[in-house]
Amino acid sequence: MYSSELIKGTLKTIILKLLSESDKMYGYEITQKVKELTGGKIQLTEGALYPTLHAMEAQGILTTDVVNVGNRIRKYYSITQTGKKVASDKVNEFSEFIDTMIFLLDLKPKMG
């Protein structure tokens, strides 16, 4: 599992990328999906996830949909058009960042 410091800077990118690939997701689903996709190497902390989700909703990057699930309410998040632009910008930025880091730290990409 990676350190929370490494994940902190990429939390927004991860959430936006996931949401842009699916119709809508709720908080717990997002954490589980990330865990599943990364084989448990990245586990989003709830303490960071919800503040970020609420902030992105306020900024108009995400919209929400409230659904009754048995005895409680579930909030589904989906990405807006603005959000899609932000998502692709963030992914591109991160990709360039990785290239720079590979060069900077002199890492040899692992061959297939």
Partner: protein, 405 residues
């Protein structure tokens, strides 16, 4: 999969609320998340509350409230971190430039004013406003917000007043006194009476109020600083010496006239010089009467020792409200100029600088611009210095007379 009962869901929701999650949306989000975790991970034979307590620490480092704080921060204060960074940097910058400026000023090195100006301005218009905005946002109670606001206003005005005082700019004293007024009559009462009502803050409030009162009192004692007694005394003495010298020179020149063969020019010189000296003596006499409020029988030496260091009397007597010289000085200057012209024409002796009426650079510095002879010699000066400069004029006139004879 475990299925949560209604009362268990209510229990979790209540517990989230108790732990400081205030916003309803966040409560519901966390509730759903916790329920999902329990439903997928809890084994049928586990105890519900024990399991709930065991998973709760996943959500925070120290306490659950952190999620609420982080959310509020991100929602209300998008630029919080940037502001905090600018605040800290400007604070450090102001402190360093201010200390350098103060050190330069103490050492009388050039550039002190620039450092002080930059330091105080960034302190007043970057550091203090940002600090108070951030602090106000952190406070929940209105009275605390008000106290911070007043403190910030006080801090800004007194810092600017200090800057204005150092730079000798106008309105410094007014700003200084109004900031102390805010401190004593607005800040201190509000701070004291809000703090004293709370049992927890009572003692601290009393201690801080005493400290604020003392510090404010110390600042107030600095309001009208004057030159030391020694400086005053030396200017009184120098007037005494100058007066003696003028009387001596006057007697000497009068003595030289006591000959039967006075030329016409010399006769005219005598009349003109005597008339000038009488005029100056008259101004002195009226100034002394104005200063002593009509009290009779005080000599010049006594007057300057009682009222000598007061700056207002002499200036108000010789200058109007707009800072322009009154008729007394203007007439005197014109007659001195005429006297100069006469002595230059009739007697070709070198008396350069004895009666120089030219405009001069203020404080001898070109950047400060030129000021007139009357401003240079009489504006905003104490009684003692004004009288001394008038005596100097009499002495110089007598010296010119002596060089002509």
């Amino acid at each position: 999969m475990y299925v949560l009962k209604d009362e268990q869901v209510t229990f979790i929701l209540e517990d989230i609320r108790r732990n400081g999650i205030e916003s309803e949306e966040l409560q519901l989000s966390l509730l759903d998340h916790i329920c999902c975790v329990i439903e997928t991970e809890m084994l049928a034979e586990s105890h519900f509350e024990e399991f709930y307590r065991s998973i709760l620490p996943r959500f925070f480092k120290r306490e659950l409230r952190e999620i609420q704080e982080e959310t509020t921060l991100l929602l209300t204060f998008k630029n919080y971190y940037a502001m905090k960074k600018v605040m800290l940097n400007s604070g450090v910058f102001s402190a360093i430039t201010f200390i350098i400026g103060a050190f330069f000023k103490t050492m009388h090195w050039p550039g002190a004013s620039v450092f002080l100006l930059v330091g105080i301005v960034s302190f007043c218009f970057l550091f203090l406003p940002l600090l108070s905005i951030l602090r106000v946002k952190e406070q929940k109670e209105t009275k605390n917000k008000v106290i911070i606001g007043i403190a910030a206003i006080f801090g800004i005005i007194i810092s600017l007043a200090t800057l204005f005082k150092i730079m000798h700019w106008p309105f410094a004293n007014m700003m200084w006194l109004s900031s102390l007024g805010i401190l004593f009559f607005v800040f201190l009462p509000v701070y004291f009476f809000t703090g004293i009502r709370n049992a927890e803050t009572k003692i601290n409030t009393i201690i801080s109020s005493v400290l604020i009162l003392t510090a404010g009192g110390l600042l107030f004692t600095l309001t009208n600083l004057r030159a030391s007694r020694w400086t005053d005394e030396s200017s009184y003495n120098s007037d005494d010496h100058l007066r003696d010298a003028a009387i001596f020179a006057s007697e000497q020149s009068q003595f030289a006239y006591k000959t039967d063969t006075l030329t016409l020019d010399l006769k005219e010189l005598k009349v003109k010089a005597n008339s000038l000296c009488e005029k100056i003596d008259d101004i002195k006499a009226r100034l002394i009467r104005h200063t002593s409020h009509g009290e009779e029988g005080l000599t010049e030496a006594q007057i300057i020792r009682v009222y000598g260091s007061s700056l207002n009397f002499a200036h108000d007597f010789l200058f109007d409200n707009n800072g322009k010289a009154k008729t007394d000085l203007i007439t005197l200057k014109n007659e001195l100029a005429e006297f100069n012209k006469f002595t230059n024409a009739k007697f070709s002796v070198n008396r350069k600088g004895l009666l120089d009426l030219q405009n001069v650079y203020k404080f001898g510095e070109k950047e400060q611009g030129k000021i007139t002879w009357e401003e240079n010699n009489f504006s905003h000066l104490s009684i003692a210095v004004t009288l001394r400069n008038l005596n100097q004029l009499i002495l110089n006139i007598c010296l010119i007379e002596m060089t002509c004879q």
